[in-house]
């Protein structure tokens, strides 16, 4: 994984609450055996009308959203299933960070493992971001700060280990493989 220390990008807003993983990537696209290519179906049932043409009303289809890679979403984003296809689809669609006031546990953990910044901020700050789409934000992963264009700052908490992995580009599997001796001991002690 490449280290991620900061991100400078524009926001696009999807204010809906409880955006679930079926919404992010519908189950009918999960018959894939690779990680790549899921972006074309991200938010499929919102992005496209029933005749297959893009819905111009949908926030991510609007011209001003082009190039925006920070998604500001309504409360309880990513609820539902444990499918890692959800963060893969967002990353493949060019999203690098998701900001909400509440993000579902498994989605957050899946996202951070893939280098998608899943960040929660205070409710009032969240409301501000929801009301101001298209903001240029600077997300500082090291300091845990979001800087607004006017200089305002929102702090966000990140699990220490997730932060460490992000900024050093460390991969959790490598970390686990290093625990081999302890795992071996545990297995010996608990052998039936």
């Amino acid at each position: 994984m490449k280290p991620i220390r900061h991100l400078h990008a524009r926001t696009v807003v999807l204010a809906h609450e409880n955006i679930d993983t079926d919404r992010i990537i519908p189950a009918r696209y999960l018959t894939t055996t690779s990680r790549a290519g899921l972006g074309q179906h991200a938010f499929q049932d919102w992005r496209y009308r029933s005749d297959g043409t893009p819905d111009p009303q949908f926030a991510l289809n609007r011209p001003e959203a082009s190039g925006a890679s920070i998604l500001v979403a309504g409360r309880n984003f990513g609820c539902g299933s444990s499918r890692e296809h959800a963060p893969w689809a967002l990353l493949d669609a060019g999203i690098r960070a998701v900001i909400s006031s509440e993000i579902a546990d498994i989605f957050r953990s899946n996202a951070l493992k893939n280098g998608l910044l899943a960040i929660t901020v205070e409710a009032a700050e969240h409301r501000y971001l929801l009301r101001h789409p298209g903001l240029e934000l600077r997300i500082d992963v090291v300091a845990g700060l979001i800087t607004l264009p006017d200089g305002g700052r929102f702090a966000f908490a990140l699990d220490a280990f997730a932060r460490h992995c992000l900024i050093e580009g460390i991969d959790p599997l490598g970390f686990l493989l290093h625990a081999d001796a302890a795992i071996q001991r545990h297995e010996e002690q608990h052998a039936a």
């Binding site: 309504g74 444990s82 493992k113």
Partner: protein
């Protein structure tokens, strides 16, 4: 030692390396379940890094999501919905062969939905840590296991190391006092609980279900309750094992046998929260107040009693949900016309669920214009149901009787609800499009689903109790 919760006991017993403020702990996994959808990329990762599966014997694979529920044609070809679905299943086959993992393949008499077959085989046992790349792994918590869903990267971690990096979740108690009324079941109870605590009510927590009403539930009912813990946002759900658990498990093919069984039960009996153990959050539920409960919106926290009216939308989100569902505030939930009825899934696809649906359908017909699909949770459930003649009851009523699998619960195998149609489903998720693009889902118990099939509209299952077709006329 200080008083400990059931979660504490399971956590301590599986801790390989304790967590610190800077690093998560390393947790040992006793049983790793796999299915075709969330595993291929994990095997790719293993292959790319030249890693083996550390404990193939602690790993068990089945296929359920992408698999057809229609039988093979005359030439033996299974009707996969797309070549991609067939390829995904084939990929699991070759991955299991390459890495030495046992697979319950299409022709296996033990195949089925992963959360149905684990318990059925006795592979799921009290005191275990169980994971699967699937959020409804919480089902296995019904046995007093710590069981939860993981992402595909973590599937790779467990394959390679038999461990996961974890921070300890918080312990939450949901205490269900008193007894459920006749005609009210586990699905009603869990929908009621989610309605009470909300879809984010269990975030960051493992819910331990306790109290008189929980103790009185059968093993299959306990699985229904734990299954939907994730719909309340919880990491997992669990119920302390007791005589009900042990009786259900004894003699199952992968449960301990003989002297090992006696030893196992003795140790399982210690798996309960100590009397003065502290939970970080506690909620009390009055079982007597639970009615047949159904969802009416687009998340599982939007639920109503069967005799209730659709409430006015409190905000734009709720209004959007009502619009999507085609429901108007103030109208009665009962009487809403239904197009499709689905009985199945890891929530309600076990034998007792099929019996409950059949009890309503026996001697009755599915209403004209309603399509009803009954999908057993596993090959074993299918066999047992056919031995009892339940398939004949469903067929005689005009319902379709299918091969086991997830089917319309997730609608990725070709079984789906058409756009705009309203389905009463015994599954666990009613998100927009979950059962197909534009599909509207009402979550309900098997009895409520069958009652809706007979009435052609949402109906109170209590009016259909027993085998007397005459009772239906009174309410239809």
């Amino acid at each position: 030692m200080a008083a400990r919760t059931l979660l504490d006991k399971l956590w301590d017993a599986h801790q390989v390396i304790a967590e610190t403020p800077d690093t998560p702990g390393v947790m040992y996994v006793d049983l790793h379940l796999l299915h075709e959808v969330t595993s291929p990329q994990a095997f790719t990762e293993l292959r790319e890094r030249g890693l083996r599966v550390r404990r193939p014997a602690r790993t068990l694979a089945t296929m359920d999501h992408s698999t057809p529920t229609l039988p093979a044609d005359a030439s033996g070809v299974l009707p996969y919905v797309t070549p991609a679905a067939a390829a995904q299943v084939q990929q699991l086959r070759s991955n299991c062969a390459e890495f030495g993992i046992e697979l319950l393949d299409m022709a296996s008499a033990q195949r089925g939905i992963v959360h149905v077959v684990g318990p059925e085989l006795g592979a799921t046992q009290p005191g275990m840590t169980i994971v699967c790349g699937d959020s409804h792994t919480s089902t296995h918590g019904a046995f007093g296991a710590l069981a939860f869903g993981i992402g595909t990267s973590e599937v790779g971690h467990v394959l390679a190391t038999q461990c996961l990096l974890q921070r300890k979740p918080r312990a939450m108690a949901v205490e269900v006092r008193g007894r459920l009324q006749p005609g009210v079941g586990a699905k009603d109870l869990v929908l009621h609980i989610i309605g009470r605590i909300g879809v984010g009510g269990g975030t960051g927590c493992v819910i331990e279900y306790r109290g008189e009403a929980i103790r009185a539930l059968s093993m299959e009912e306990r699985m229904t309750v734990c299954n939907m813990s994730i719909e309340a946002g919880a990491r997992a759900g669990m119920i302390a094992p007791d005589a009900t658990t042990f009786t259900w498990l004894q003699g199952r093919p992968r449960a301990p046998q003989g002297a090992a069984w006696e030893r196992a039960v003795a140790s399982w009996q210690t798996l309960h929260s100590d009397a003065d153990a502290r939970f970080e959050r506690s909620v009390a539920i009055d079982a007597g107040a639970v009615r047949p409960t159904l969802s009416y919106g687009t998340h599982p926290g939007m639920v109503l009693d069967i005799d209730a009216h659709v409430p006015a939308a409190a905000d734009a989100q709720a209004q959007r949900a009502l619009d999507y569902m085609g429901l108007r505030a103030g109208s009665a939930l009962a009487g809403t016309p239904v197009d499709v009825v689905f009985v199945g899934s890891c929530t309600n696809g076990r034998l007792s669920d099929l019996r409950a649906a059949a009890a309503v359908l026996r001697g009755r017909r599915v209403a004209a214009g309603v399509r009803m699909l009954v999908v057993p949770g596993s090959a074993a459930v299918k066999r047992a149901a056919e031995q009892e003649g339940l398939d004949a009851v469903f067929r005689a009523a005009g319902a379709e009787w299918r091969e086991p699998g997830c089917s319309m619960c997730i609608a990725m195998n070709g079984d789906f609800v058409a756009p705009g149609q309203l389905a009463v489903s015994t599954s666990n998720r009613n998100f927009e499009g979950r059962q197909g693009p534009g599909a509207r889902t009402v979550l309900a118990s098997p009895a409520s689903a069958a009652a809706a099939a007979v009435a052609g509209c949402i109906a109170d299952p209590r009016a259909y109790a027993g085998d007397h077709a005459g009772a239906a006329e009174a309410v239809a």
